[in-house]
């Protein structure tokens, strides 16, 4: 049998971040326009703290959890229907996006605040790209409309969450032993 590539430590931490991402969808914080949830904050943290591979794995587990029917997707949604529906691209984006975030942060020995913000930003470009792509294909919307509906409303909240995640990464990375 092929030897396992993943350690028990990695498995447990990735599962916990999957659980945190799921729980984050239930913690809402009122903001001026639309209330934000902490879900993507934990997506950011998974990429920044666990690295590309484990971070992406944690998001894969999160998406599978939702497919299994636990109402863990944004707004209490669940099921394969959501993955194949208009907003499913974001879920795939979470997996791909965290991979990019983690890989970029891993490149620096001790990444600073600016580099972490940049990496999380690049990850978000991947998330938005895949999300808007599926939105425009499944819902037959033009690219401009998909961006207006699927990206713009989330920008302020996501920028705030990127800043919080970068700030927390600097504090939390001393505590996590992978």
């Amino acid at each position: 049998m092929k030897s396992a590539k993943i350690s028990l430590r990695g498995m447990v931490y990735a599962s916990m971040f999957a659980a945190l991402t799921a729980v984050g969808a239930y913690i809402t914080i009122p903001l001026q326009l639309v209330p934000i949830t902490l879900q993507t904050l934990f997506t950011n943290l998974a990429g920044a703290l666990l690295g590309g591979y484990l971070g992406a794995l944690s998001q894969l587990v999160y998406v599978l959890l939702g497919i299994m029917g636990l109402p863990v997707f944004a707004g209490g949604k669940a099921g394969l229907g959501v993955l194949l529906g208009p907003t499913g691209g974001y879920l795939v984006g979470f997996i791909a996006g965290t991979y990019f975030m983690g890989k970029m942060i891993e490149r620096r020995e001790q990444a600073g605040f600016g580099w972490i913000v940049l990496a999380l930003g690049v990850g978000h470009v991947v998330i938005y790209g895949l999300g808007a792509l599926q939105l425009s294909v499944v819902a037959h919307l033009s690219a401009a409309k998909a961006l207006a509906v699927g990206v713009l409303p989330f920008l302020p909240g996501d920028i705030l969450k990127i800043l919080v995640a970068a700030f927390l990464t600097l504090k939390l990375r001393e505590l996590i032993k992978l």
Partner: protein
């Protein structure tokens, strides 16, 4: 206690089917739904309605499962209604745009497809327990490796996550209430202040999660956990009824794709 998942225990032919068969059936329904137009959708809707009837799922639960996707459906319908060119439905323009027949048709078709996808997935999770689903996914994914992880390890991670979501949810609520009691204000203040308020929510939650991780790792290592093939208390077995359903579903899907 937080109610997570939508499983409704019961005895019906739908509940009794093997989890793998039901998962494959939902994938098949999704493929058909995305592939067909109005007539096909109506047929899928009739099929779904009869499955719901056989499974004796109260209609209220189906509607409750649809509630979270309603805002998005309304938005999509509105977008198509207002921005599709074609024959006007009303003799006069509403504001700056005109409502067209093509827009109404396209919008309703899309929303119908989306809602049917959600219903199909809900019926699966209402009639299958989470542990059965984990096992079903594990068995279906057995031939593949995902990102260097075998299906056994993936199933283990899924069970760990399933186990910890309710606990973390409770912990998050406690921490949020504790910080509110200490005077945390979430909806005002400048950027720096906001970052601090959210951090004082996430910091304690994360440190407590890391502690739980360490305890869990120690406990699993102490019990000699080894990644690799595992055995189960209850193995999934396919009955003749399961094979019958499986073959029917695959045949119907193949016919519809070819037509």
């Amino acid at each position: 206690m937080y109610k997570l998942g939508q499983y409704l225990p019961g005895v019906s032919p739908v509940h009794k089917r093997d989890a793998r068969v039901k998962i494959i059936a939902v994938v098949a329904v999704s493929v058909i739904t995305l592939h067909t137009k109005a007539v096909g959708l109506a047929l899928v809707a009739v099929a779904m309605a009869s499955v719901i009837w056989i499974a004796r799922i109260p209609l209220v639960y189906v509607l409750r499962a649809l509630k979270p996707v309603m805002p998005l459906s309304a938005l999509l319908l509105l977008l198509h209604l207002l921005f599709t060119r074609g024959t006007p439905l009303l003799p006069f323009p509403v504001g700056l745009v005109s409502v067209t027949r093509e827009g109404l048709y396209l919008g309703l078709l899309l929303v119908g497809k989306f809602l049917l996808l959600v219903i199909a997935a809900s019926v699966l999770t209402m009639t299958t327990s989470p542990s059965e689903l984990t096992m079903g996914i594990e068995r279906l994914l057995r031939p593949f490796r995902f990102m260097g992880v075998s299906s056994h390890e993936l199933a283990m991670m899924l069970s760990l996550t399933l186990r910890f979501v309710p606990i973390l949810l409770e912990e998050a609520t406690t921490i949020k209430e504790a910080q509110l009691a200490r005077g945390a204000v979430f909806n005002s203040g400048g950027l720096r202040r906001r970052i601090q308020t959210i951090s004082c929510l996430v910091m304690p939650l994360s440190t407590s999660v890391f502690r739980r991780c360490e305890e869990l790792i120690n406990a699993m290592e102490a019990r000699g956990y080894q990644p690799g093939p595992r055995t189960y208390l209850q193995e999934l077995t396919l009955s003749w009824g399961d094979y019958l359903v499986l073959i029917t579903v695959l045949l119907v899907t193949a016919v519809i794709i070819w037509l």
